[in-house]
Every structure is written in C-alpha cells, then in structure tokens.
C-alpha cells in the first residue's frame, strides 16, 4: 500500500468529498467489489480516492489468462444473465396458459426479443460449462487444500446453483420439449429416497402443473440468483483473506499492473460476447409447440450436462432411485473433497489424485457421448 502521503486535497470540494462526509464511500466500494474486480483487502478507514489509488497501485498476478480467467468469465456471464433476465421478465407471464404465448411474443413480436432470449439461453449453457471447467481447474491445481476449503465449497455450491438455474429456467418457456425434459428429470429427482419427497413437497407436488411452474419461476428469478450472489461475495471475501493463488504459481507467472489487468479483462469480455453473439445468431434454440401434459413428443433431449446419467438410465437396468441417489452422493462427495483429502501434499499423492480425477472425468465423458449418440438414433 503506497498511497499518496499528502493529507490535504485541493480546496475545491467535489461531490465525492460532499458524499464522503456523509457516508463511508470506501465501505460501499469494498462491498461492491466483493462481487468482482478487486482481490486484495481494502482499507475502509481511508477515503475512497486513496482506496482507489491503492487498488490501482497494487500489483496483481497475471490473472486474466488461460484457465485462471474462468472465474472472471463466470462473473461476466452472471452479469449478462441478470441484465437479459430482467428484460425477459418484463414480458414473461408464469402460468401454463400464458407462458408459451408470452415467450413467443418476446421472441417473435418484440424488437430484438429473439436476441435477448437467445443470449440468455446460450449464456446459461456457457455459464454451466465455464463453472464446471473452473471446478475442474481448481481440482487439477489442488486449490481445495487448507486454507482454501471455503473457496472450493463456494465453487461447488455455485455449480449447483447454476445447474439448478438452468434446469428451472428451461421449464419456463413451457415448450413441449423442455416441459417433458423437466418431467423426466424430476422423476429421477423424486425417486431419491428421503430427499426426493422433501424436494417434491418444496417444489409443489409431483405433477408438473401451474404450482410447479410458479415455484420454478420464483426460484429462477429470486432465490437462486440471491444464493449465487451470496456465494460470489463469500468467494471474494475468502480471496481477500487467503490471497489470489498459491505463491509458487504466482511466482512463476509474475505480476502485472492493475490497469493491465483491467485491460485484459475488457478484452476477455469482448471475446466472450463475440462467442455468445455467434452462437445466439447461428445456432438459436428452437421452439417446438406449447407443452401439452397429455402428449409426449418423441426425441426429447436432456441438457448436455445430464447426458451421462441419461445414458446410464437407458443402458443399464438401473432403477431411477439409484441413479438419483448416485447423483446426489456424487454432488455431496465433491463438496466434501477438502475434508476427505486432508493431510500431506506430496507430489506423488497429488499425481494419484489427478489421475483419479481424470479417470472419473473420462467415464463421465464417455457416458455423455453415449447419451448423445442415443438421442440421435
């Protein structure tokens, strides 16, 4: 922290100084940057100009590069989901009668509606992909060890929240394919012993009707984003305490000026939007027909991240409850990984862990490919 030592600012008082005398701007700045941008502790007793100066002067690791940029991409995508989601919510009506109609109005009749909808839909899939890749990266680098357990738990919890957001959001269009995809997904969830009935109770019953739709709507718009923001806050709060990454990694990569970091972040954002716009315009999500609870269409596809359990359900005579229980157990096992892998961190042990992780991933990918091929048949 090498802030300017000069105590007396120029006599001219701007609005910042006017506000500064009335509220603690540094505290507000610190709170806001708990959701992104600043990774180092902020001294909230200093005036805000000095804090900004400190932040800009603090060298940061070469962060917005390679796999380490995934967290940043997730934060940008989350912002995009909020903006496009609010715009969609202005016209969307969450009832079985109006849901498909209102979505079609957005997509077909409103100027630019299709673009906002496609950006939201693709943004959601990219967010799932980015957040899962980030989890893999944290695993690969062993960033779940003390004192980084909380960071790992946040990353796992954010993965759950994002997958649930995608799952709840897909039902909202009330399209026949997403509707029946949800029905089939929920059957697996509800077959889980103990947790299944509890979830069915919380989600409004076992039949996907107006009660379930409005609960999905509330979860998608309010509950899950608030949880996500909470975990984001906790992530940055932890980062400010334990630092950006392992010291040896930082030493290898060197440090850069904060402004350079902001520049790379901007470039990353531009690149991300280029990808998103390309996907949204060239590969738009298709609509089929309004969902009919009395007619199941053929060729309903599960989302890409659920192709593996889907393949398992199809190929092996695994009962649905066992499949659901397996998924739940896997999710909890991933969460508890830091407690399970405590102890010595020798290179040999780390290599073995990585190998185990790669093996699990390979099985998952193989099953996913199997599931994707099944659908095409």
């Amino acid at each position: 922290m090498n802030g300017p030592g000069r105590q007396d600012p120029p006599a001219r008082q701007g609005w910042v100084d006017w506000l500064e005398q009335r509220v603690n701007l540094s505290e507000i700045f610190s709170f806001l940057t708990h959701f992104g941008l600043v990774y180092t502790p902020v001294d909230t007793r200093k005036p805000v100009r000095e804090v900004l100066h400190d932040v800009a002067a603090e060298p940061v690791p070469r962060y917005a590069h390679g796999a380490r940029a995934l967290g940043l991409l997730a934060a940008i995508l989350f912002g995009l989901q909020i903006v496009t989601g609010v715009l969609l919510a202005y016209y969307y009506r969450p009832t079985p009668e109006a849901a498909f109609e209102s979505t079609r109005t957005i997509v077909r009749d409103l100027p630019g509606g299709w673009f906002i909808h496609q950006m939201h839909a693709w943004g959601s899939w990219l967010l799932v992909a980015v957040i899962v890749l980030r989890l893999l990266r944290l695993f690969w680098e062993g960033l779940y060890r003390a004192p980084r357990e909380v960071l790992w738990w946040c990353a796992v919890a954010m993965t759950w929240v994002v997958i649930q957001s995608d799952f709840t959001g897909r039902l909202l269009t009330w399209d026949s394919h997403t509707y029946w995809g949800t029905v089939r997904g929920l059957e697996v969830v509800w077959a889980i012993p103990i947790a299944g009935p509890v979830l069915a109770f919380l989600l409004g019953g076992r039949t996907v009707n107006e009660d379930v739709l409005i609960r999905f709507y509330v979860l998608h718009l309010m509950v899950l984003p608030v949880f996500y923001a909470g975990f984001l806050y906790l992530t940055f709060a932890t980062l400010r305490r334990v630092g950006l990454s392992r010291p040896e990694a930082a030493r290898d990569q060197g440090t850069i000026h904060y402004r350079e970091h902001v520049y790379s972040m901007t470039m990353l954002t531009v690149g991300l939007f280029a990808v998103l716009v390309t996907l949204a315009t060239l590969l738009p999500f298709r609509f089929h027909a309004a969902a009919d609870p009395y007619a199941t269409p053929g060729g309903v596809r599960p989302p890409w991240y659920m192709l593996a359990p889907y393949a398992l359900l199809q190929h092996l005579p695994v009962p649905a409850w066992l499949s659901g229980l397996g998924l739940l157990a896997a999710a909890i096992a991933v969460l508890l990984l830091p407690l399970w892998l405590r102890g010595d961190d020798t290179p040999g042990r780390r290599r073995r862990l990585r190998l185990a992780g790669v093996a699990v991933l390979a099985v998952w990918l193989a099953l996913s490919v199997l599931g994707a091929l099944l659908e095409r048949r």
Partner: protein, 154 residues
C-alpha cells in the same frame, strides 16, 4: 478519528454452574420450539393444494363412435387413460401414463400395444410390460357401458 477510551464493563457475578446450565438449556429449548413452530407454519403454507380429480366416473363417449380396435386418449386430470374397443361389445380402459418416468404413451392400433415415446417401453392391452425399461405394469380401470355410453371408474 480518536477512539474513546474504553472503560471496563463490570459484569454481574457469574451464576452457579448448575443454574447457568439449566437456563441455557431452557432458552435453547424455547428457541427450538419456536423454530419448530415456524417450520410447521411455513411448511403448512408451502404444501401445494392437492389437485384431486373431482369426478370418479368419467364419460368416455358413445360406444358406437369407436371403431373396433380403435383407442382414444381421454384427457382426464392427472390420470389420463386410453379407452380401447376390443370387439363388438368389449371395451377396456388403461392408464396412459408410463410407469417408468410418467411420459404419456402412444397407442399403436396395428399391434394393439401402448408405446412410450421417451424410452421405447411397450405394454400390451392387459397392461403387461412387453419390453423396455418400465418395471411395473400399467393399471387398468373398470369400464361399464350403459345405454351405449362408456363410463370409466378412475
């Protein structure tokens, strides 16, 4: 900003351990009761009103309207079912909800089977599983024909 000098706060003399523990347990018990009460109230609110099908007897139309071998889906509440005319007089009613993951079955009049569009499970008209992942047979419903009209007891 000068931080005011802190004056030591005089605490009351500690209660005897027995009494303190008793009071702690008591207040924890009260809090737990409050929590249970709040959970019960919220839970009762969260329980979605159960949607029961009001009618138990469903009119599935005139027997004369069905051709022999024809099956029709009757869109009845949460228990949709197929009505199939077997021959001149016999009619049967069979659930249209697959016992695997609750997809709505399609009726194949040529083979007289019910086929699931989701996982290709197949049922015969007695409800038995012919092939595919379903593990339980389809439930059937009693049918009566009165004055040429088909009634199904759901």
């Amino acid at each position: 900003m000068p931080i005011p000098e802190e004056r030591p706060i005089r605490l009351p003399a500690p209660a005897p351990p027995d009494r303190r523990r008793f009071l702690t347990v008591l207040s924890q018990a009260f809090l737990a009761l409050w929590g249970l009460g709040a959970a019960a109230v919220v839970g009762a609110y969260l329980k979605a009103p159960e949607k029961r099908d009001a009618e138990r007897t469903v009119n599935a139309g005139l027997l004369a309207d069905y051709r022999v071998g024809e099956g029709r889906l009757v869109r009845h509440g949460i228990t949709p079912f197929y009505v199939v005319r077997l021959d001149a007089t016999r009619v049967l009613a069979l659930s249209a909800v697959c016992t695997h993951v609750r997809c709505i079955l399609g009726y194949d009049p040529a083979r007289r089977t019910l086929v699931c569009p989701c996982h290709d499970g197949r049922f015969d008209l007695s409800g038995n599983v012919l092939s595919g992942p379903p593990s339980r047979p389809l439930p059937g419903y009693p049918v009566s024909v009165r004055a040429g009209e088909i009634f199904v007891q759901v």
